[in-house]
Each structure stands twice: as C-alpha cells, then as structure tokens.
Symmetry: D2
Amino acid sequence: MLRIGLVGYGYWGPNVARNFGGIEGAKLVAICDASPTALARAKRQCPGVRLTRNAEELLTGNDIDAVAVITPVASHYTLARTALLNGKHVFVEKPFTCNVEHGEELVELAHEHNLTIMVDHTFLFTGAVRKIRELIEEGALGNLYYYDSSRVNLGLFQHDVNVIWDLAPHDLSIMDYVIHARPEAVVATGEAHLNGHADVAYITVYFPGNTIAHINVNWLSPVKVRTTLIGGEKKMLVWNDLENDEKIKVYDKGVQVTNREGLYELLVSYRSGDMWAPRIEQTEALKAEAEYFVDCVEKHESPFNDGAAGLRVVKMLSAAQQSLKERGRAVAV
Amino acid sequence: MLRIGLVGYGYWGPNVARNFGGIEGAKLVAICDASPTALARAKRQCPGVRLTRNAEELLTGNDIDAVAVITPVASHYTLARTALLNGKHVFVEKPFTCNVEHGEELVELAHEHNLTIMVDHTFLFTGAVRKIRELIEEGALGNLYYYDSSRVNLGLFQHDVNVIWDLAPHDLSIMDYVIHARPEAVVATGEAHLNGHADVAYITVYFPGNTIAHINVNWLSPVKVRTTLIGGEKKMLVWNDLENDEKIKVYDKGVQVTNREGLYELLVSYRSGDMWAPRIEQTEALKAEAEYFVDCVEKHESPFNDGAAGLRVVKMLSAAQQSLKERGRAVAV
Amino acid sequence: MLRIGLVGYGYWGPNVARNFGGIEGAKLVAICDASPTALARAKRQCPGVRLTRNAEELLTGNDIDAVAVITPVASHYTLARTALLNGKHVFVEKPFTCNVEHGEELVELAHEHNLTIMVDHTFLFTGAVRKIRELIEEGALGNLYYYDSSRVNLGLFQHDVNVIWDLAPHDLSIMDYVIHARPEAVVATGEAHLNGHADVAYITVYFPGNTIAHINVNWLSPVKVRTTLIGGEKKMLVWNDLENDEKIKVYDKGVQVTNREGLYELLVSYRSGDMWAPRIEQTEALKAEAEYFVDCVEKHESPFNDGAAGLRVVKMLSAAQQSLKERGRAVAV
Amino acid sequence: MLRIGLVGYGYWGPNVARNFGGIEGAKLVAICDASPTALARAKRQCPGVRLTRNAEELLTGNDIDAVAVITPVASHYTLARTALLNGKHVFVEKPFTCNVEHGEELVELAHEHNLTIMVDHTFLFTGAVRKIRELIEEGALGNLYYYDSSRVNLGLFQHDVNVIWDLAPHDLSIMDYVIHARPEAVVATGEAHLNGHADVAYITVYFPGNTIAHINVNWLSPVKVRTTLIGGEKKMLVWNDLENDEKIKVYDKGVQVTNREGLYELLVSYRSGDMWAPRIEQTEALKAEAEYFVDCVEKHESPFNDGAAGLRVVKMLSAAQQSLKERGRAVAV
C-alpha cells in the first residue's frame, strides 16, 4: 500500500486526490495547502485525510511513501527536492520545473536515491494519444512529415508564466512520446498584450530528417480549438480533442513524387481514399496514470513519463522562451 | 472602351478573360498563350477574340490599351515591363514579382509613364474581406492584437515556387489591406518533404505596437482549412471562408487587465457576450475587381491594390523566404 | 426550512438529492430506495441523511414536508397520491403519470389539500429554453409557423416505456411552455424493432391557426442529435443543445407573400439578413428548479410547471400513443 | 446517334441540354420553350441547335428520336404522350406525372410502342446513393430498421405544387432504389403558411416487416439540411449531402436484444466500434444518367429508373397528398 501525501489543493489537486484516493494499492493520507479555503474544501471532499498547512511536515513524515506536488511550477523544485531527500517518490505536475538546471538536479537526485519521479503529462494516458502513438509505431502513417497543433481559447491567464509554459507542455510531451527523434532546434515568436507575459505564441520544433512540428498557443482566442494535424508519407490524421466521438480521423491520402528518368521536372501525384475514425478508449486518463505510478513504484520500473521525459519538455520550453525573447532566433535543444 | 489583351490562359486566365469580357467599359480583344491546347480552349470559350502564341504582338499592339498578365510569377516582370514601355496599363496576377527589385522597377516605370498597375489580390474584393476591413475601420474590434490564419490543403504543388509564394500572398495582401501599420520584421520556418520546395511553412509578421500576425500554409494537409482569427481589444472575429453562410462570426468577448492600486498582481477579467454573423455580400470578387480596374484607368486613379501594394507583399514574401532559409532569423521588412 | 424526502435513488435521483441538498431553505432529510446498492451509494454521497427501503415511512413521516418522486413512471401515481394524502408537497419526475386519469386525480387532490405539485421538466430551467421563450414572448419571431425537433441517439432502451414516453416529454413540455396555444390533435407513427416497444417515432402536433409541431425521437441513431428549428413570420431560430457555445442562432430570414392586385399569382419574396447568437445563461437548470420549488411552496404560489402542466404533457403523450397504435390516425387532445 | 429534342429550357433544362449535348452517341437537335428569354439563352448556350416555341413541331419531327421533357409536372403527361404516340423515346423530369392514372397510361403506352421512358431521378446516379445501395445490397447494414431524411431549406416556393411534390421525390426515388420492399402505407402531416400550398410536411412510409421511412421537407427553414440516417441491424450510416468530403459515414454501432431463458426481461446491449467514411465517386450524376439513357435506348433495355419506377414514386406522392389532406390517415399504396 503506497501512502501518498499531496501538496497543492487548488484547481488540479482535487482531481489528483480523487484519483489516488480511488485506486487499489494506494492511500491518500495527507493533504497540504497554504489556503484555509482550500483546506476546508479538502475536508469536505476527502473525509478522513489528514490536513495541514505545513508542507515540511508532509514532505518529511514517516507515514508517507510518495508525494504528489500539484503546485505552481515555481515551487516544484524545492518541494520535490525535499521529498526526494527524505526518501519519498514524487509525482509532479507539468511543467516539471521552471528551468533546466533544476530538472537535471531532480533527475540526478532520484537516480541516486533509487526513487521514482513521474511528471503528470496526463494527455499521454488518454485513449486518443495512445491511439496516435499506436498508429505511428505500427507504421500506419509512414515517415512523419509534420505535427501541427492549435491549442487556443479565451484565458485562463496565468500570473507567473506565459502561454508557452501554460499550454505548450501538452503538445511538447505528446511529441516527445509519439515522435522518436530528439528535437534539434526551437524557434518561437509571440507577443504580450495584457499583463506582460506572452499570451499569443507560435513554436516551431525542428527534428532530424525533415520532420517539423508547430504549436499555436493563444489565450486570446474567441473560440476554443484543440486540433492537431499529423502528416505522414503514407497517411495523415486529424485529432480534434473537442469532438465527443471520432476524435481521430485517419485519412488515406497522400502525395507521391516521381522522378521519371530523362525528365527535368518531378511529377507530383495525389492519392485520396477512405477516411477512418478508430474507436477510442474512454478511460479516465488521470486514473490510469495514478495506477501506473503506483505500479512503477512497486515494481521499481521507470515510467515513460519520468523525470527525464519531464526534463526533455523543460528543455524545449526553455529554448522556446529564449527564442521568443530574440524574435525567432533558432535555439538548439 | 478599354481594349484588353490577356497573356496566359492556364488555370486562372479563363476566369480573368470571362470577367473582363463580361463587364461594361472593357473589351477583351486578344489572348496569348504558348500552349496550343490552351488556345483551342480559348477559341471555344471566347469566340471572336484574337488568339496568338506571340506575346510580343499583344504587348506592343496598337489596338490594346491594357494587358492582363496571368502567367507564372517568373515571367511577370518581363511581360509587365514590355507592356508598360509600350504604354499599356497592367493587370498582373499575384504575387506581383519574384523579387523586390523587379517590383520596384515596375512601380517606377508605371509612375513615369503615368500608367496603372493593378495586382490581382482577388480576396480584397470578396464580401468577407470588405466586411472585415469595415469592422476594423469603424473600430468595432478596437486595437488589433493578432491576425492568425490557417490556409492548408492537399496540393496543388507548384513546380517553381514553394508554399509561401503560392498561398501566403492571400493573407499578406489581406493584412496589408486591413491592418494600417507597416510590418517591422518577418520570421518564417518550414520544411520541404517532396520536391525540394518548402511544402509546410509558418510565418510570423511583427507589426509596431504589439500587433502580431501568423500564417500557417501547408500543401500536405488531409483536410482543407481556410480559417482566420482576428483578436482585438474590444471584440474578436473568426473568418471561416469554407462556410457557405456565416463566413464571419464576431464575438463580443474580451479580456481586461486592471491594475488596482496597492495590488502587486494584475487582475485579469473576462467578458463574454453575444456572437453575431453579419450578412456578407455575395458578389463575384473578380468581377468587382475587373470593374474597378477599368474605373481606375478611366479616372486616372491609383487603385488601392496598385503596384506599391503588390510590392509590399513581395517584400514580406522575400523576407519570409530569407528567414525560412535561416531557420527563423527575424528579417526586417 | 422545507424538509424533503426523496424516493428513488437510481439514475436521476442523485442529481435531485445533490441539488435539494445544496440550496438554502431546504433540507434533504431522508432517501428511500428498494435497492441496497442504491442505498449504499446514497450513504456515501449524502452523509447524514436518513436511509430507508420503506417508502411508506417516508411518505407518512412527520418530519417531512415535501416528497421528491424520482422513480419509474409506473409508480408516480401511487407514491404521489400517498404523499398528498399525508399532506406533503410533491416534486415528481417527468412524465407526470402514465395515464390521463391518474394525472387528473393527482391535480385534483393537490388542489383540495392546498398542496404544491411540481413536475420535473428540467429543460424549462435551462438558459436556452428561457431565451427561446423570451424571444417568442417579445415577438421577435412573429407568429409561429413551426416547431421541429430531432432528439435521437443510440439507446438507452427503457424496459417499461417506448421512445415516445422516454424522449418526447422534453419537447412536449417545452412546446407547452413556449407556445401559448393549446394543441388540437396529435398524429404519431413509429416502429418497434427490438423489444416490442417503439424505438423510432415521429409525432406531429396540430395547433390552432397554422402552427405545427413535429418531434423525431429515436433510440437507434448512430449519432446524437438535439436540434430544434423554430420558424416564425419574422425570424427563425435553430437551437442545437449539443453546442457548448452558441446553442441558439437567430436568423433574420423570412419569406413574404404579396398578393398584388390584378395579379393571379402570389409573389413570394425572400429576406436574408444577419445571424445572431445571444449569450445564454450557464446556470444549472436543476438547481434553479429546486430553488423555484422551495420558493413556490413557501409563497403558496402555483409553479408554471405544476401538475396541470404535467397533465397537459401526459395528454399529448397519451394521444400520441393512441395514434401510434392506429398508424397515424389524428387523435384529438 | 440518338437525336434528342428538349422541351423546357427553364431552371433545369440547360443542365440537361449541356449533358445530352456533351456525350457520345447523342446529339441535341432542337430546343423548345414558350419564353423568348429562355430561347435567347438557349441560342447563346447551345449554338447550332434548332430553336422553337412550338412543342408540337418537336414532338412530331422526323429528325428526332427521343424527347426530353423538362417542364413543370402539370404538362408532363400531354407532352410525353404525344412524344410516345409519335414513336419517340422519353426522358422526363421528376415527378413523373401529377397523378397515378396519367403515369399508368404513359407506362402502358411505352410498353405497347416498345419505347423507353426514363424518369430523371438524378440522385440515383450520384456516387453517394450508389454507395448506399452497394452497402445495403452487400448486407453491410443488415436488415433495415429505418430510413430518416431531412431535406429543408429556405424556399424556393413553387406556385403549382406543395413542398411534398417538390422535395420528396428525391427521397422517395432513393428509397425505391435502395429498399427492396414495396411500401404498404403512407402517413403525411403538414401545414401551409403562405400561398395555400403546404410548405412544411412530414411523411412516414410503412414497409413490410418493420422497416419504416420518414421524410422531413420544409421550405421555411433558416438553414439548409440534407441529412439522411439509415439504421440497420448490423450497422448504421449518416449521409450528409452538404459535406464536400466524407458525405457518408458508416458506424459500426448497434443494439442487440437477448432473451435469456428464464428471464422475463429482454437484455439490451450496445455495440460501438469504428466509423468509416468510404471514398465516394465524384462523377457528374446527370452526365452518367444521360449516357445511361442513350445506352438503354440503343440496347432496348429497360432502365431501373423507368416509367414504372417513376410511377411508384407518384403513387407514394399521391398517397402522401391524400393523407396530408386527412391529417395523417394512413393511405395504402
């Protein structure tokens, strides 16, 4: 039985609490939040769980095996570090850390102490992303040409980070999961209109070969869009996460180039066939992730969304941040 | 009566011929194309119009007042130059020229000879773009935050230009028309997957103040998208050109930031009201443009889509091309 | 403080319990269900509420002022009757009763004992239906031509009633609420394919004048549809309840007929203007309804969705049932 | 070479002229229309074709083998009858005739004179309807449960017929083509709001077994809808004719009922799998139909859309008309 303490009972914390509280093999034993209102809510929603405003108590407590850090990114490093130094496994909200150095130190620390870090890249546990990975793994799409995502809506403005750190971790972690290659360089552009943090941003990620990725994030859009196009040599797909059914549509469409001998010009031909929307598993992603965390800790196995994965995302975020500041200069990852 | 000669009866030429042939005040007198097949088609579709394979004859002919240049971009400069030197007004397909120098020379030449150049930015004559301009002019949107366009589909690959020169002129000319400020710098990223020309590209345009524009162009998309989001301080709109009705939706939505005295944090508040889809005029854009050309020539007035407008678009295209080559380096316009 | 007992903790009961439990002026004191599983769930979700498998106890208890009857329709009459005879106000799930006689008796009984009956036509408390009523009341649509609704999806098959009794009460209660006239006759057609109960049905309701209503209900549709078209002399609207935003679109479109003197033919002309999607209130309908119930009881006011309203819906359902059996014979209401 | 005379150069006539004029094996030799404006248009669009205002001349002319009757339905019978009596094959616009007797007489006459009648049910030649028929024929859907179509839009009001005779022939001819059984009875409801002809109507068609069909036709809808749901025992499909791509979506969804021995209740279970949008042929339907007409005449073969097929549709229309008048009384076909 993995005894879990949770720090941060704000917007996302209650979901994490509910899921860790509801699975076999784990027990939520304590919740910490600095806000009395949050604690009052925790009391109502999690009867029987110990409540505290003192994180230290939870991070060092003898009755706790693992800590879930569900706080703003600025505090991830300090909380996770203390937890690791006190022999606790760590489940930490995305983005992993607010800079590369902190992420590297935590990964190192977990390795030294033989502890598990899992970064909460929840999307990797959805039926849609699992299906996309499956399609790419089995070669259905062929060589990847591009990954192009739009993730825009009105608000919610964050006070401490810009729209890149808020919305791009989703796509960057998905790209990290479904594209095998490691990124070479990042180009980011964008603009701040309201509170000094960029609220509109565009990120290009260059991969080896000719795979290119692009992410459009925006806090100032009148409509919500969650659409990703993935183009491959053999097939192409559209993932619209706002659809209830048919989230993923696979198109048997493509372009071929033939270089007929003796011809100076390349011949481009188009192929257009059926469209197919595979059934997507409807499981709750966060529940599956919580079970996977418990399982990884028990079996001493490293999760695929471990600290190293979280760090790879932070490296892309940091490169994007730097590029944004320099109006699109390509920053190596 | 403006006597018009048309060079280039390929994909778009027949539409130009039909529209100049069908309006008052103009008469299509000659069509030139190097291809016998194209000429046979012209014979069938434009009975009574003189046909020739010799452009020189048309560009220098005494019975011709204006020349419509509807050929691939590489030949625009030479054809338009000869026409101007022979005292003909010029209607030229977009993009205006394939480099800045050529565009500047043509603008200069037209000025010297007191002739009209109109660049065929057809979209500026659609009901949708006119309505967008009207909404911006009257201040309905407030200060502009961003212009964000997706223009993607499968093919048609061009053999001589990349996807930027093929698809971006539409958005760049629209931006030039509806945004009053002049662009400062362009950042472009992209990749070529098939015939050596970039088939996926992302362009950011920085304007003075904090207006930012972004264009997503792609020849390898399984679905066709023609959607532009325009965000302003007061209102935001979505233009979906693939909709039959309700092409433009104006959202009474917005974000305000209040800096209450004595508070360290900015307060961000959201406003959400009605949506409104104004009726859009359904006139044929190319017909309106042809009439406008005849009108401008007759009245010796400079069209808003004159050579200078075409040149501004070519400058942005050239900057994008350069930035693309250097993986996103910001290129001043 | 209105003390409420709830009978029936199945699919919908927990929602009713949560809402009556969460408002001021009411207190949920007891829950009854025959199923031990349901009671176990109630225990978890409603700590502190008395649980019982004996409805009689709850219907006659001295500490209860009002009873919420959230059971299958077959038991509504008996439960509500006992409650009324014991001086309790009644909140009863739709459809009100399974025949007209039962409904009439309950209305009579409530009247005699000066008690309130409210039928749970939840849709009447949604922002969308309120907005539709408002638009009709203020004359924005003009005289009503038609009300045409599609309410189709896959399942959930009911074992005791057909698709008409399951899905049509929504539209019939909405029609009763927004159309002032009383229906004249009902025509229904349909077919049973699986368990002997009609799973596909089409209902036409004739109103005085030339207003006509139609409801398409279907348990065997591969896609979920919740779309209602309402056409009026002046304007027309589309209500798509599956949209997150823009549930209601009002079209400034119409048709006029002119009978010019001396002409044999009527001239029909079309008008097409803007479309407008008013902002819809996002309140939880059931919460508003629960508060309204408490308020009506307190003030001794008759709710608009009282027993008489429920009875009008049952009359239409009964007429539809009869017409269905006779393959479309018009049955007077 | 089949020499064709066309009567009626109004809205649809030019399309028929263009297609018969453009195929091998046929030659359009004469066009008749009473309106000088129509003839002037014909002169421009069909150079070289003889024009006349005298139908008699065309129907009896020696240089004509087949007559295309593209006039309002009221004149179909007289024109087609004369053509047949003069030994001409007949291609006639839908609906075939305005009553059953006329249709029967024409079928009889064609039979006696060994001539071909084809009724212009153009939809049967679209890729979408062909694909639907193919799916039903090969058993992909299993036994048919229902066919449910919505065909609504604003206008175009007809002066001589109601919305049933205008819009329902499409669906009735498609049903006749894809459903093998013959209809038993028709129920229709509806209302006239403007010029005395029903502009809103709902038609139910009962087939043997438990297949049921329903058609919703409306000239007063603010939005255009062309959606048909077809439900079968094994699979279900949605045909949205307004989609550019993916007109047909086939859902691997269904409901099964199990009657487990010893159980009083039927168990209903749901199945939900992939969705699949087969590629649809993009050929022009009217061209294919014109070629098929020429082919049938040449080979002395009876087309599947012959007079008998047209008559079956007229029988359903007449039954619907009668039922409409009697507010939904089931009228046997």
